[in-house]
Symmetry: C2
Subunit: 397 residues, 2 copies
Amino acid sequence: MSPAISERGKAFPPSPIRKLVPYADRARAAGKRVLHLNIGQPDIPTPPAFFDAIRRYEETVLAYGPSTGMKEYVLAVQEYYRQWGLEFEPQEIIPTFGGSEAIIMAMLIVAETGDEIIVPEPFYTNYRCFALMAGVQLVPVPTEVSQCCRLPSYEELRKFVTPRTRAIMINTPNNPTGRVLELDELEAVRRLALEHDLFVLSDEVYREFVFDGKRHRSPADFADLRSRVIMLDSISKVFSSCGARVGCIASKNAEVMNSALRLAQGRLCAPTLEQIAAAAAYRARREYLPPVVEEYRRRRDEVFAGLAEMREVTCPMPSGAFYAMLDLPVDDAEKFIVWMLTSFDVNGETVMLAPGDGFYATPGKGVHEARIAYVLEPPKLRRAMSILRQGLAAYPG
Amino acid sequence: MSPAISERGKAFPPSPIRKLVPYADRARAAGKRVLHLNIGQPDIPTPPAFFDAIRRYEETVLAYGPSTGMKEYVLAVQEYYRQWGLEFEPQEIIPTFGGSEAIIMAMLIVAETGDEIIVPEPFYTNYRCFALMAGVQLVPVPTEVSQCCRLPSYEELRKFVTPRTRAIMINTPNNPTGRVLELDELEAVRRLALEHDLFVLSDEVYREFVFDGKRHRSPADFADLRSRVIMLDSISKVFSSCGARVGCIASKNAEVMNSALRLAQGRLCAPTLEQIAAAAAYRARREYLPPVVEEYRRRRDEVFAGLAEMREVTCPMPSGAFYAMLDLPVDDAEKFIVWMLTSFDVNGETVMLAPGDGFYATPGKGVHEARIAYVLEPPKLRRAMSILRQGLAAYPG
């Protein structure tokens, strides 16, 4: 006999990005090549300075770092934020296990069990898992793929506030939509936070990836949001180092950081080697990042050139991150993705996307949508878009 | 104006191991040398094979690993457990961010918000933080330092079971007491789990460090507990690699592992490089571990030779891990520890311990106790014990 696990243990959602991986494994086992546009795992090289720093590590003991972070890492992040016009003291930055832990910490710190956090949807799918861990209710604010997922006005946003609302969570540039928030959208968020006494959880892990002459803006840019903004960051995407598991939580709110430090002490420290390596990557960013950003721009253009040939696919071109949500002319995007893996190929090659419904909290939404991550080289993306076009034409659903 | 953080955000406990660090920093700044016996950070070298594996990493992209773990890591752990007579399939082992995340996952999986987990006290202090994160109530079962923290009988244990009890959590060899559970104590745990339908969370991160011809026993050794035991493990102590942040959760219960996988997918993966390095460390364990275990035995003997000269310090000699709880003849152990850092030294050198009350959930308990971690070389330990003896004699409280 087995004891029963908890209801929340049963409720943790499978990752829409990863749950169809077994189909991809089987496709590969059957000899197909799979172009993975389902997961935000770039093929861009990690900065060599990152690996060099790790290889140069000479201690004989891989010891705990301070819970407050390795000094060189914290100073590198401080200097990096300063370049963005944001002033943080070292004690206002604490390293975390990737951006993921920063988000979990922030939810625990701002909300009690049962409290609510407003989040525009579609949103980064794993917020659902983190919210369930923290016992927090995500209250989705609908946006439309056809309008490039523009945030609604303050008047619209405020309708989602209840006595249990503690924060609004934003993510710009956005995963999965690629949207870069405009000043007026951020103004609406600001007004919501100020008038309803909310925290602003700001996931900015794609900060560097903005195209078309636009610029990334953070809610931390507003002086009157200083004590409300909690920055959630990660080196995974900026430095193509997803396997490092280093991110940070940063805030000018002393009470927030004091709580974050006690949470950080509970699990002792973030990875020692990767903090040292991340510091080196931050220092190398001025040479490293410009060609990377240009490469993502090129890839986005490649994807959208391909999409332009698919009349029935709705997707306005976004200006940031390396994702887009596609509104597909299919009965069910997940079924279509599985069909592409199991029953379709062009010269032994097929494409994998991430089903869209996992990026929504509202049941039934996103069923016709899929997220595409343009994380492969342009020639592969060109092939992928051609395969996708032919797949859509051949799909029976 | 700042918005208020959550009550739980305020309640996260400061680490008793780390909260007095500012006093140590000031002592050092004032020119004192501090012998750190407060934190379980060994000075034992990490296996060279660990660093070699990291230096040999040749990919240009530090990519996400699978949420299920890097294959070589999982197979190494599987092979390691097999040596201990425990059979786990690869899908029954998932790597985590140190043992810490494994514990948080297990709590979320077995218990709803408000449910209870029984844990003998004193216990590893950070369980308090994890329980608060998971919204779980720790129900402490008192044990006595004077009796070497022996677990009570089944009849005693069952008194702590309520309708909300979901699990009993044990830790053998134990942090902070050094106790290695005997067969009859594990039999009591087994009976409790079977008769009250509980999970057994088994923190075995000190498994290798057992002395005096005793042997480590796991509740997983009992065939009838197969579906109830959740193993919580880490490479931090066994391979003196605390900064790696690699541990695992392992269970024969498919529902538990299915839930753990979805939680793991939520935060994507454990650190890639350190999993590869951990696999190398596990493979090197037969040469690496015997002298390490012998060294800890030598240190324990050194500490207890020193304690034998302090008549008023009560502490029966434990047979495992690298800790002991000392019952000190002082008014307040925390005050004494601070006094040792601020107002006492022998030839410019002093000793830092961890105050005992942080290892208890029952208010008021452990006030006269302190945890000692014997993580320094025998000559340093000898000096430390001499300084401690003189400090106790000179302490005004």
